[in-house]
Symmetry: C2
Amino acid sequence: MTQQVIYCNDVDATLNSIIEGGSYNRVAVLVDSNTRQLALPLLPCLSNAHIIETTPGDDNKNLNALTHVWQELERCGATRNSLLVILGGGMATDLGGFAAATFKRGIHFINVPTTLLGAVDASVGGKTGINFNGLKNEIGCFAPATAVIVSTIFFPTLAEQELKSGYAEMVKHAMLHSHESFEQLLSFDFQDIDYDLLLKLLQESLLVKQDIVKKDPTEQGIRKALNLGHTVGHAFESKTLADGKPVPHGYAVAWGLVVESVLSHIMLNFPSSDLYALARFVKDNYGAFHITCDHYDQILDLMHHDKKSRGGEINCTLLKKCGTPTINNTINEDDLKAALDIYRDLMGI
Amino acid sequence: MTQQVIYCNDVDATLNSIIEGGSYNRVAVLVDSNTRQLALPLLPCLSNAHIIETTPGDDNKNLNALTHVWQELERCGATRNSLLVILGGGMATDLGGFAAATFKRGIHFINVPTTLLGAVDASVGGKTGINFNGLKNEIGCFAPATAVIVSTIFFPTLAEQELKSGYAEMVKHAMLHSHESFEQLLSFDFQDIDYDLLLKLLQESLLVKQDIVKKDPTEQGIRKALNLGHTVGHAFESKTLADGKPVPHGYAVAWGLVVESVLSHIMLNFPSSDLYALARFVKDNYGAFHITCDHYDQILDLMHHDKKSRGGEINCTLLKKCGTPTINNTINEDDLKAALDIYRDLMGI
């Protein structure tokens, strides 16, 4: 699974040269109503592309939207030699990638992520899919984009919350990579954003991810390291959905990283100084996810239903230290409850 | 893309040993109403499997059936470590393979083809999919089965027409392989079927296919050789569908092989003796597909809409001689019409 990832802010020229080089007989572009208005005008090379519009929001990443993309590809006369450009966040690249990977058993697609979360989490790595039956990413496949064009030109129009949501995944990659990366990321200034620095950090972050994905494209082993923060994070995210108060994915990941760092400290001696630094950064930038001990059983239950749990056991990636992940740790309920206690202390709730 | 293909008539023991070896936490089996009644009772190892039933017939290989399989996998608690056994013809293995390949981004599946056509055409090679928007196999992906168990134990309950339909694909493989294979296949006695000989011929036939698929799993080049007979065959099949008188797939392929052998003779000097022998065998066993010159334009039009046509040109695999295919031959309309004339002569219509 090889995938060309290009880091640049000259997106239109770059995309144009890939399209020209591919000799595609049709080009379609998948947008949502936001990216159609804010991002598409920045890419004049797509002025003749067939526009396929989807409704933004993860709850629209469903079978209806998928069928719509397939039908529109059909309608514009797309063949095996056609191209789908996907211009949007993770919802669009997940949906569009799956549609392209299954249309006539697979056509080329190019991801142009327009959000930081989309860039860091969804656009690279070949995971595509839709939600089904109330379960996230339940249906999908592994299919690499022909190319991914990563830039920061679309980010100035993002809400601060959206930017921070993506940044949490970058913190995760830094923790998987090295102590140096981890410290560098915690010093980023969200009050005065340096987009050139952000593109550089984003590139380093994606190289960490690509390196892991390359070793294990279908998540049989080491790719599970990328689930750091997500076992607890997904449970938190599901709880907020169940409570009717959904939070951005990256916020749940940020809180999940804190809890799983506590677990790493308890089980694998992860340094307490790093744990404190992470907790402070998360509290300052993401606030705290408020839980009481009355919620522990619900959270445990949600973790048991995770796609990655095996045979009723809760399975989790943890860290010995930054740069040294270990996969397939079985978490017992007492340790988890203790970790949630400490998380609440660290967050001051 | 590796795929274990097992040729044996001890299907229950073989399947059982694969299931035991896989340590699957759930086993589901996809059947249709026919194979549930006729084939499933021959496999006691599946007595505890969750049964997913679909409606037979290629027109049921659609999004509704796919959704049903996904929902049933969900309902029986299937996870990434579960297995789907597919017991049926090409409709079931196409549908079930696609459902399994996309459920939680891919679970293991085992094909147990119950028809000769399913065994030779659909169970091996990794093509999965469904019909969509009135187009055959429009949505799907390349995903190899974990194992394919090829046997003849289910064939005695097949209608003669079903057996012959599959046999046409074997003739195609023989023509791609060697003159010797071709002659051997033409001498098979359908009046007194030797099932042991048939299993041996089937194995040889699938080895030809596997050899080609291995070289080119996603059909960029030489795998197109397997389309021999299908460019014209699909057009004939579509015509019978449009006329409301559908024929078995293999019958259309048999007639397509004759027309494309004529084209091979006109364009590449394919030996006339082999052309005559093939035409006689097809006429004797499959009858003739009746067309007049008034139908030529309709057939040409259908060929232009083939998934494999590029830029408006009709693209076809032809043979210099048995064992020497050439892919990507562009067919002009005059040659095609001449070939259809000769086909009608050979068939005596």
